[in-house]
């Protein structure tokens, strides 16, 4: 049992969770499948997966039926860039922090998980921060509110790592390394964009050497020679995985020049960047990004918050999309999950800025990020066989008037607006009770006057 504000709610939802193994049918809804058009019909959920979608479906007797007449259903929203639900974001002491991972410090009780759910987000890519040219390992979480850290992890997902270009990693003067008393403090390299490139190249040159060392050892071993294995290096291992195509790279970037730089470095070392993150000047090289087969995850219309974000335009996503780039919209939320709770309207803006269709707009927060994260065979659209991550809205999801009513992950309901509202007065009463109890205890334990009477 969790004891957060919404703790009691999880308990009520646990009751409905019992249905997960059974069958749930969402009926009479407007279903935005995203990949197969929009229809009026029903979705059958069995064993956490979507068993059937269509205008006429077979409803087994005894199924839990949710009448969604007048409501809209979309696939669970996937936020390709967040920093929620972790107790650390940056390991800022070094320029290559590939040995660390935010997965080690998932805060399963972080309220942002619940806030994200309430905004229809079912999967969040939780990234290491952008303090380092090569940052730490990321973790992909499903918003299974109430579960422990391990149970939040999107198990089928490929591992990934964060890179960062530009202002954040080049900020000079950051202290690094242990400062012994009286010793000179290290100032972190790099201090320029050139330096960022150098740090990345150098790291991969090291990773290649490290890879060779292991190969040489394996060769010796297979010949039956006695050899000491190389020391395992946790900083190098993820980079070798990148070289071998076993780990995705999500790279924080802004400017066209640095984006080209990274694409060339990746070419040099024969690996592919999975996504360019933020990529606010992506519209300037949409063709190059498309040709490189690299995804782009950006903001709808958020810019000028720092110098390297001055050249952004709200048509960025649409232009890249039209030039053939796989584009998603993200929140970059850390504490509060403010933007994360309204990614549907961020998608809605794409109709205004660039005239995208409803499906194209929705794709940017569902199937496109799923493809970028290589989880599109599991989630991202309403299709038979996919995990039943679904959001029921009261109105069209691209409207600013729409509200999330129910959210399902793997067929289990994790959010219910009605129940949340019902629960609030009870939580308030509970809090009041605790406050009063504490006052009482304080009074009882207050020290008596120490003066002799």
């Amino acid at each position: 049992m969790r004891i957060l504000t919404i703790g009691a709610l999880s308990a009520t939802l646990c009751l409905t969770a019992g249905f997960a193994q059974d069958v749930t049918v969402i009926q009479n809804a407007t279903i935005h499948t995203v990949t197969k058009g929009t229809m009026k019909g029903s979705i059958v959920i069995r064993d956490g997966k979507i068993a059937e979608v269509g205008e006429k479906v077979m409803t087994p007797s005894g199924a839990r039926v949710i009448d969604a007449a007048g409501k809209h259903v979309i696939p669970g929203i996937i936020d390709c860039h967040t920093h929620i639900a972790v107790d650390a974001i940056n390991e800022g002491s070094v320029s290559v922090s590939s040995m660390v991972g935010v997965g080690d410090v998932v805060n399963s009780e972080g309220k942002d998980i619940y806030r994200a759910l309430a905004g229809g987000v079912t999967t969040a890519n939780v990234l290491h921060g952008s303090a380092n040219a090569i940052g730490g390992k990321n973790v992909l979480l499903k918003m299974r509110w109430g579960k422990d850290a391990d149970a939040l992890v999107f198990q089928e997902a490929m591992p990934s790592i964060k890179f960062a270009l530009g202002e954040n990693p080049k900020r000079a003067g950051q202290a690094t390394g242990f400062q012994a008393p009286g010793a000179q403090q290290n100032l972190r390299y790099p201090g320029t964009r050139m330096g960022v490139e150098d740090v990345i190249r150098e790291a991969f040159l090291h990773a290649q050497e490290y890879q060779k060392e292991w190969k040489a050892y394996e060769a010796k071993k297979s010949k039956g020679e006695a050899a000491l294995p190389p020391r395992r290096d946790l900083q190098m291992e993820p980079l070798v995985e990148v070289l071998e195509g076993k780990r995705l790279v999500h790279a924080h970037c802004y400017r066209a020049d640095e984006i080209l730089m990274l694409l060339r470095v990746a070419d040099e070392f024969h690996f592919k960047i999975a996504t360019l993150q933020h990529v606010l000047e992506g519209y300037k090289l949409a063709k190059e990004i498309a040709a490189a087969g690299v995804g782009a995850s950006t903001f709808s219309d958020w810019w000028s918050y720092k110098v390297e974000a001055y050249d952004a335009i709200p048509y960025n996503a649409a232009i890249m999309h039209k030039k053939g780039v796989l584009v998603s919209l993200n929140s970059d939320d850390a504490g509060g999950a403010e933007l994360m709770r309204r990614l549907n309207t961020e998608a809605g803006k794409m109709a205004k800025y660039g005239g995208l269709t409803e499906d194209e707009a929705l794709a940017m927060i569902t199937i496109n990020p799923a493809k970028q994260l290589r989880i599109d065979q599991y989630v991202g659209s309403i299709e038979t066989g996919k995990q039943a991550d679904l959001v029921i809205y009261d109105k069209d999801p691209l409207s600013i008037y729409s509200k999330v009513e129910k959210v399902f992950i793997d067929g289990t309901q994790y959010f219910d607006r009605e129940k949340d509202l019902e629960e609030r007065p009870r939580q308030d009463a509970r809090k009041k009770g605790l406050l009063e109890k504490e006052k009482e205890t304080e009074k009882r334990n207050a020290p008596q006057s120490r003066r002799p009477s």
């Binding site: 390394g177 000179q184 946790l234 605790l434």
Partner: protein, 458 residues
């Protein structure tokens, strides 16, 4: 160092060596109420201490000839209390090795004028790893806090060197002894890992960094071990490993002590311990009431911090804490009872508590909320001994155990009860004299943490 090793050798036979001329070597506490912890309470019994060992205990004991007798009428005898996670015995400012690294680092500060030490080049330098430091080398009989600790009924403590990320090896020590070496009951009870602080700014600077730091440290230790083994087999072909005191220290760890405030940190700590293939003991556990089930399931012992969280007195009075914080403050004192109910083995710690008597007061609060006195006492004695691997020698009043006792004039958890004397290795110590209350005396009490002001009121 040689001297210290010598005193450790002496220690092995310490209990059987004749004690100093002055303290009697044969003592009987007669007709006292005896709480053995391991067995039934003796309403009127006698306990005999010989050469620092409990020679006999029971209701009908014939007092041996030549014994010095303590009239136990109106007195209660308990096993000496054990602080499960402490720094007692290690005087503040004890010279710990400068956390400059595991390889060829110099522990002694360089004299003025010498060049600054080499910069840390990152993880490989292992800043903050003091795994070669052992509490047994650091304890001193002169630690000023020992008086106050004995005055509260404590006779032993699991004490740990704290600075750095890997603080060092803890030791189970008695809180008095002829010399530092004789204080040590068990020198290597496990390696202390912290998850924060340490007071430096380099890598690791984040919580997640600490996880990868520990992982790499253990990987390096395993590699070092393999290298040594292979070198021993074929010194002609395998490169000779460089001696590394930090890795030696890691390999010597019998257990690791990991902090966990609540269930989330517990999940992380248990995963880390499994990765390191180390036996974990959890310390802290301020949210113990939420951790009991997992601790039981994984058979993980815990050392509970009993400094119950309270409302910050300096906080903005308009500020209303979150329901989570309120619940924590409300529930934390119920943790001991929750751990008992779940069958989790736990001890308690003085960590963060200045006055040792406040450890008992904190447990009294839990007793008022439903914790059984026997269970509170067991946590303070036998459970602590068992967790630290000295259950056969300490923690209960049984024949053959080390003669560590606390004698009170009533129930230990009663506010009015006073500790009359403690025995450590069979030697009697009196509680420090009570200093007069500050308003009258004007001067601050000289003994640190002396708890007289509260008691004067009664």
């Amino acid at each position: 160092m040689l001297l210290k090793s010598l005193s450790l050798f002496l220690l092995a036979g310490a209990a059987f060596l004749p004690l100093q001329a002055e303290p009697p070597s044969l003592i009987a506490i007669q007709d006292a109420r005896i709480i053995t912890v391991s067995g039934a309470v003796l309403e009127k019994g006698t306990v005999v201490l010989r050469d620092g060992i409990i020679a006999d205990v029971g209701a009908a004991i014939i007092i041996p000839k030549g014994a010095w007798v303590v009239d136990g009428k109106g007195l209660t005898v308990y096993p000496g209390l054990i602080d499960g996670f402490s720094t007692w015995g290690i005087p503040d400012g004890a010279p710990v090795a400068a956390p400059t690294g595991g390889r060829a680092a110099v522990a002694v500060p360089a004299p003025a004028g010498t060049p600054a030490p080499a910069r840390s080049q990152g993880p490989a330098d292992r800043p903050g790893t003091n795994s070669w430091v052992t509490a047994a080398d650091l304890v001193k009989t002169s630690d000023r806090r020992l008086d106050a600790a004995r005055g509260a009924g404590f006779t032993s403590a699991a004490t740990f060197p704290r600075p750095g990320l890997v603080g060092g090896h803890g030791a189970l020590v008695n809180l008095a002894g002829e010399n530092a070496g004789r204080m040590v009951v068990e020198p290597g009870i496990g390696l202390l890992l912290s998850m924060g602080g340490g007071g430096y700014t380099g890598y690791p600077s984040s919580l997640m960094g600490m996880f990868s730091y520990y992982r790499q440290l253990w990987i390096d230790a395993e590699h070092y071990k393999l290298n040594k083994e292979m070198y021993a087999q074929s010194p002609a072909t395998i490169e000779r490993p460089g001696y590394d005191r930090a890795l030696e220290g890691v390999l010597a760890a019998k257990k690791v002590f990991l902090p966990a405030a609540g269930p989330m940190q517990l999940e992380r700590a248990l995963k880390l311990a499994a990765e390191l293939k180390a036996t974990p003991v959890i310390y802290g556990a301020v949210e113990g009431y939420r951790m009991a089930a997992v601790l039981k399931k994984t058979a993980t012992p815990v050392i509970l911090n009993v400094k119950w969280p309270v409302k910050d007195r300096e906080a903005d009075p308009e500020r209303i804490d979150s329901i989570r914080t309120l619940e924590l403050r409300d529930k934390a004192p119920e943790s001991p009872a929750a751990l008992v109910a779940a069958g989790v083995k736990f001890a308690v710690s003085s960590d963060g508590i200045d006055n040792p008597k406040d450890v008992i007061k904190a447990l009294k609060r839990s007793i008022d909320l439903g914790l059984k006195k026997e269970d509170a006492l067991r946590a303070l004695t036998l459970s602590a001994a068992e967790i630290h691997g000295v259950g056969a020698r300490l923690g209960s009043i049984d024949k053959g155990k080390i003669a560590n006792l606390v004698v009170t004039n009533g129930d230990l958890f009663d506010d009015k009860t006073k500790v009359q004397m403690v025995f450590i290795d069979g030697v009697k110590y009196l509680p420090p004299p009570e200093t007069p209350p500050a308003p009258r005396g004007g001067a601050a009490p000289s003994a640190p943490g002396n708890e007289t002001q509260e008691e004067v009121e009664h």
